[in-house]
């Protein structure tokens, strides 16, 4: 292969690196209205009265909108294929406010200072309710976060809103209690994973305007342009045909921008005023008023025989979705979906539990999407089991993991198409020098070095649901345009998809222009999430390119007056035995004269499986026994993402994901006060890892070949965040014998554990 497998530089790399104005905010035209939002100071309250007159009279204020000014139609901001599994539990502005920071009024003014002034002039009287803060008390709480009657679910997700239960979920195969009883050993533990902030560097932002045909155009830093379009159509009662959503370069998303945080407000103001309007969230708003990872409590019971054969496991979860149910059912079910298949020599498995509403910022999508939470719990339990049986944790995994060609209880007989997880574990052991370093080594000066490990799987796209389309056009000059609707948020997916098209068309990516994403132009794509772009959109691109290639050959043959079987296409020429035509010439001829047709390849692709990528992660830590401080020395990640389409970009994906996982493990914690106020609303209080926090990270690929993927590829974007938390927790245990059951692993927790 000439393009696939090459570490090609990103097509937009030089421009974004050197500061070209290619992001949403850089494109906002002058004289655009500035939007600010008045937010609820209470975690739970009803607006008794709201007086906007004074604010509206302020010079420069264009409009002040409250719940009285918006359609009474509930919807979800979750970016998911229609019909969305997330409950329709929101209004653009509601009479009831459900968390500190919930929107009360939308102000648009000619400049920021005026908008800020206007906010202070709005008088609101609230009837304050008792908020539900602790998610473990939500189901029995006297308050009901969503008392409204018009809340709608597209599916039966098991909502019991009077108990604050947004949804319930249960997957069980076999008789779990019976099988656990039969086991020689059963380990049981309850783990807590915290809410985590996506903390992409570019905060949420969008602007909107009416174009020359009166259509609403929204430019947004979003992962989901097509879903945004649908959300706007529903919530603002605008025909979908009258809306266009454009995505420029995105300054990071990590799932956060899979939820429509700001677009609706810009669109609403443009709709009401007819004027261009922009909304740019501050970092504080981004931390306080958007979404974060679902915090969960996960109780694991894991049973095995004396030899360490895992026979049954049960995970019972509780998930905190905050004030609204964006991604509530799916994040939760993924926690089970990506853990139950991992160890497949079982007789029974179960994953079940509730997702509850609380009066805190809503949760949403964040890289890993539940699998991260589930992995921490399951892998911590497996490490505990290994200890109990006095077995090497790597051995116990090698004994129990699912292998290529095997099935598992939850796969309904389907077989795992590809996996090198076994090799990943072996290679990781070798790279970290496991046999020598496990479990620990005392150093002088009260420090101890230790290693720990975890394995994980994710998916590639959403099986049977997410479907992507792609188009490849042969332009008049003999170059190609690749039309896609996926949303490169820095991952390099535009480049990778171009590599795939180039491979099929036997050209180089210099000859391919990538156009994405604009709902007026791009073929439909759900957007970049669920680790789908390389796998699902990638396959659509391959098929579209193949379609075009066929057409080129057919057309070339026609011009050469031979049958298609008699010609060859090498990327430059279409040749028969004694005649040849260049692609350039062909392209030229196809747009000249009568009876011609410009050649375009099209394809739509969805997959009925979501093949899992795998990672084996190994951490080496140094723990200061006197302070409990954990320093990460070395992290080895060995990855099976199928065929590596672009090794350079894949490696950075892994490194970036590992560091985000390190953040989850050691530093990051979305914390609320007793009354529901967010305490971590800046980078001063919410610490993402900086350069000094991460030690060394080593990445290795053990390629497999996924038969259903483009060129054998699976996904990589999400799976890489899952192992650091359990692997580091394991290393800490091996160092000082302290079991960390609730993330993050702070020095204080370790110290208290040592001195218990």
């Amino acid at each position: 292969m000439k393009q696939v497998g090459k570490g090609i530089a990103k097509i937009d790399g030089m421009d974004i690196a050197t500061g070209r104005p290619v992001y949403t905010e850089d494109m906002i035209p002058p004289n655009t209205l500035v939007i600010k939002i008045l937010r609820s100071p209470h975690a739970f309250a009803k607006i008794k009265s709201i007086d906007t007159a004074e604010a509206e009279n302020l010079d420069g204020v264009e409009c002040v909108l409250t719940y009285k000014d918006v359609p009474n139609i509930r919807f979800t901001l979750a970016g998911q294929s229609y019909p969305e599994p997330s409950p329709y539990d929101r209004l653009i502005l509601d009479e009831i406010v459900r968390y500190k920071g919930d929107e009360v009024a939308v102000i648009a003014a000619t400049d920021e200072k005026t908008a800020a002034l206007a906010i202070d002039l709005i008088n609101v009287e609230y009837e304050v309710y008792e908020p539900v803060i602790d998610f473990e008390e939500a189901d029995s709480h006297q308050s009901t976060v969503h008392p409204e009657n018009d809340l709608h679910c597209n599916f039966d997700i098991g909502m019991k809103k009077e108990n604050n239960i947004a949804c319930t979920h249960k997957v069980q195969v076999g008789d779990i209690e019976e099988e656990l009883k039969k086991c020689d050993v059963v380990v049981e533990e309850t783990y807590y994973t915290q809410a985590q902030a996506q903390a992409m560097m570019e905060t949420y932002r969008a602007y909107s305007y009416f174009d020359h045909t009166g259509r609403l155009v929204v430019v947004s830093s979003t992962q989901i342009p097509f879903h945004i379009k649908r959300q706007l159509a529903r919530s603002l009662e605008i025909p979908s045909s009258k809306i266009r959503v454009i995505k420029p370069r995105i300054g990071g998303g990590f799932g956060g921008k899979q939820t429509g945080a700001v677009e609706i407000f810009a669109a609403l103001v443009t709709q009401k005023t007819g004027k261009p309007a922009k909304i740019v969230y501050s970092r504080k708003e981004t931390f306080t008023c958007t979404n974060s990872r679902h915090a969960m409590r996960l109780k694991v019971r894991l049973g095995a025989d004396k030899e360490g054969n895992i026979k049954a496991y049960d995970i019972q979860g509780l998930s905190d979705t905050g004030a609204y149910g964006e991604h509530a059912p799916t994040v939760f079910s993924v926690a089970g979906e990506k853990t139950l298949p991992l160890y497949n020599k079982t007789n029974a498995v179960r994953f079940m539990g509730n997702v509850v509403y609380t009066n805190k910022m809503p949760a949403g999508a964040l890289r890993g999407y539940g699998a991260t939470q589930g992995t921490f719990a399951l892998e911590s339990a497996v490490n505990k089991l290994a200890k109990k049986l006095n077995m090497d944790p790597a051995e116990i995994r090698l004994k129990n993991i699912i292998n290529e060609g095997e099935t598992c209880l939850t796969y309904n007989g389907k077989l795992l198409g590809s996996s090198t997880l076994r090799q990943c574990i072996e290679k990781g052991k070798e790279l970290i020098n496991w046999n020598e370093k496990y479990p620990q080594k005392e150093l002088s000066n009260n420090k101890v070095r230790a290693v720990g490990m975890a394995v994980t799987m994710q998916g590639s796209g959403i099986a049977g649901i997410d479907t992507a389309s792609a188009g490849v056009r042969l332009n008049d000059d003999g170059n190609f345009t690749l039309l896609i609707g996926s949303t490169d948020m820095g991952t390099g997916s535009d480049t990778i998809l171009a590599q795939m098209a180039a491979e099929v068309l036997e050209t180089s990516i210099d000859n391919i222009t990538v156009n994405a994403a604009d709902t007026d132009v791009s073929p439909y794509d759900p957007g970049s999430y669920a680790s789908s772009t390389t796998y699902v959109t990638g396959m659509a691109v391959v098929k579209a390119a193949e379609d075009l290639k066929k057409k080129i050959i057919k057309c070339g043959a026609h011009l050469l007056e031979v049958s298609p079987q008699e010609v060859e296409f090498d990327g430059k020429n279409i040749s028969a035995t004694n005649n040849t035509i260049t692609l350039k010439k062909l392209a030229e001829l196809m747009v000249l004269g009568i009876g011609k047709q410009q050649l375009v390849g099209n394809a739509t692709h969805g997959s009925d499986v979501s093949p899992p990528p795998f990672v084996a992660g190994f951490a080496e830590v140094e723990v200061d026994k006197e302070t409990g401080k954990v320093d990460l020395i070395d992290y080895v990640a060995v990855v099976d993402c199928g065929t590596v389409i672009n090794p350079k970009l894949a490696r950075i994906q892994v490194e970036g994901g590992i560091v985000q996982g390190i953040g989850l493990a050691l530093y990051e914690d979305v914390k609320y006060g007793k009354k529901g106020g967010l305490q971590t609303n800046s980078f001063m209080t919410y610490k993402i890892p900086c350069r000094k926090d991460i030690g060394n990270i080593r990445v290795h690929f053990e390629e497999s070949y996924e038969p259903t993927g483009p060129f054998g590829a699976k996904s990589i974007g999400e799976v890489v965040i899952n192992t650091p938390a359990p692997a580091i927790a394991h290393a800490v245990y091996n160092a000082v014998g302290v079991t960390i059951k609730s993330l993050p692993i702070t020095p204080e927790k370790v110290f208290m554990g040592i001195n218990k």
Binding site: T18, G252, E655, R691
Partner: protein
Amino acid sequence: MQIETTINNKKVTLEAANDEFLADTLRNYGLLSIRQGCDTSCCGLCTVWIDGKPTLSCSTLAFRAQGRSITTIEGVQQEAKKFAEVLVAEGAEQCGFCSPGFIMTVLAMKNELNHPTEEEIVHYLTGNLCRCTGYMGQLRAVKKYLEVK
């Protein structure tokens, strides 16, 4: 108020409010490479040089540019491109939102430190947060860039 300053080697007069910070003034002036990632002086995205020193433009009041020399990445494109090429070859720019501030800090380091060690490099660049890359690729790129030159 009026501020007489030098931006990217050009003498200019800017208009700014008393409480306006340089990052906004520079963006208004058309230097759109200036990005801001926080409101608490923590991220380093807004790094520019003031009299050659890497400085947070988000926390420097605009009037303090008076009589001084401001450099943004627009003013050092040639050198920025040299480093960016190494960075991009490493795949170590992802969303790129942090890149201008990061590159300005790397170039300042190159001017300030002679043959820095890896530890010194990491120390110098710690104030530049990046949520995408995991830092390792950036470090590889910086090491390559400094050795090459």
